[in-house]
Subunit: 188 residues, 2 copies
DNA sequence: ATCGCTTCTTAACAAATGTGAACGGAAAGG
DNA sequence: CCTTTCCGTTCACATTTGTTAAGAAGCGAT
């Protein structure tokens, strides 16, 4: 059932089958309906989670407007590291844009897992680095590319999201207004 | 001599004095002249380093233009995780904007350190998360703030860099042209 | 299917940022 | 010390993006 996650994990840190079983024991399945929250602003994040199916969005509110900074979907990990690791109230929220099925790992379970098998620490490191690289690329795109170029790149790299994420969220993610995105889309 | 680094490390992961000594044994001091490179594009990064003094800049070339994505200075760690961890050629360069004194840690030494004391793995995790948070904030600023707001925020948060980094680099970091930055600076 | 609400589109105009060029001063190198 | 190059500034004008407002289209709930 969770083959994809486990095969991926094995290839990253050469986990044994017993490691996998160990890890599996600490996960619990969790469901979030479309529009509901994985993490609300002000809460301390207690879990990270692997997305079995569905779609989540990290975002902040600026001037009453929801501004996304990340979209995560099936076969990705969702977490707000800043709140989760430091146990501080989140200055950001995460909500489901679709009905979403998760495999959750709590903070305490994660710490136990790290004690029992330090390779899992290296694994978490690995995933953090992946997110870091993505975020750095997004920042570079915002600094260097025009609005039009950012949209075309988004379309090329995440074509599935174009139809799963409302356009005003995509616009905000790209740092432009919905009307501007509409204008860009109209050109050819 | 390295009190600041060691005190910081101790407070993060409750390292003992012998841990600190262990770590210290794996570091070597390294000097980079202003304008020289910590990492060239195309090279595989072999080290991370703690900056004792000086200033470095991560950047990419776009249209023949150097576009910074990070400035790091004394008491911070400099690294290009993507190349260093995956042993892939860097798609980015890091150079010194001032004469810079580093404490370097090689990839092999880091791995040894992780074997001998897994806490160091948690420490690396911690520093990666810090950079991640900074980068995510920078991306959000680029998406949400106007050029003027980005500049004022930069001035407020990193006032020392205003005088240490050439303005055309700051402009590129903020995602604007040098002339626009000049115009913003002129207004009062 | 209909109603009500949200999202998307369009347009005219305003504001912000980019472009190209010129100038002057600062810094670097001989 | 002089020369050369680089950097920061300024300006006029072009282009991009934002703003405001309105209507069309999509979507959910009844």
């Amino acid at each position: 059932m969770f083959d994809r996650l486990f095969n991926e994990i094995k290839s990253i840190e050469s986990f044994s089958d017993s490691d996998i079983e160990l890890g599996n024991g600490f996960l619990d399945e969790f469901f979030i309906e479309k529009g509901d929250y994985f993490l609300k602003e002000g809460q301390v994040s207690r879990h990270v989670a692997y997305i079995k199916s569905g779609l989540t969005m990290h975002y902040r509110i600026y001037d009453g407007l929801e501004v996304p900074c990340d979209f995560l979907r099936e076969n990705q990990w969702v977490a707000y590291i800043k709140s989760f690791m430091n146990k501080t109230p989140a200055d950001m929220a995460i909500k489901a844009l679709e009905d979403t099925v998760l495999l959750r790992l709590s903070y305490n379970n994660m710490q136990q897992l790290f004690q029992l098998q330090p390779k899992f620490l290296a694994l978490k490191n690995y995933y953090t680095e992946l997110s870091f690289i993505d975020t750095a690329q997004h920042a570079a795109d915002l600094a260097v590319l025009s609005a039009k170029e950012r949209y075309h790149k988004f379309m090329k790299e995440k074509p599935d999201l174009i139809n799963r994420v409302p356009q005003y969220y995509i616009a905000a993610y790209l740092g432009i207004k919905p009307q501007s995105l509409s204008r860009i889309r109209k050109e050819r």
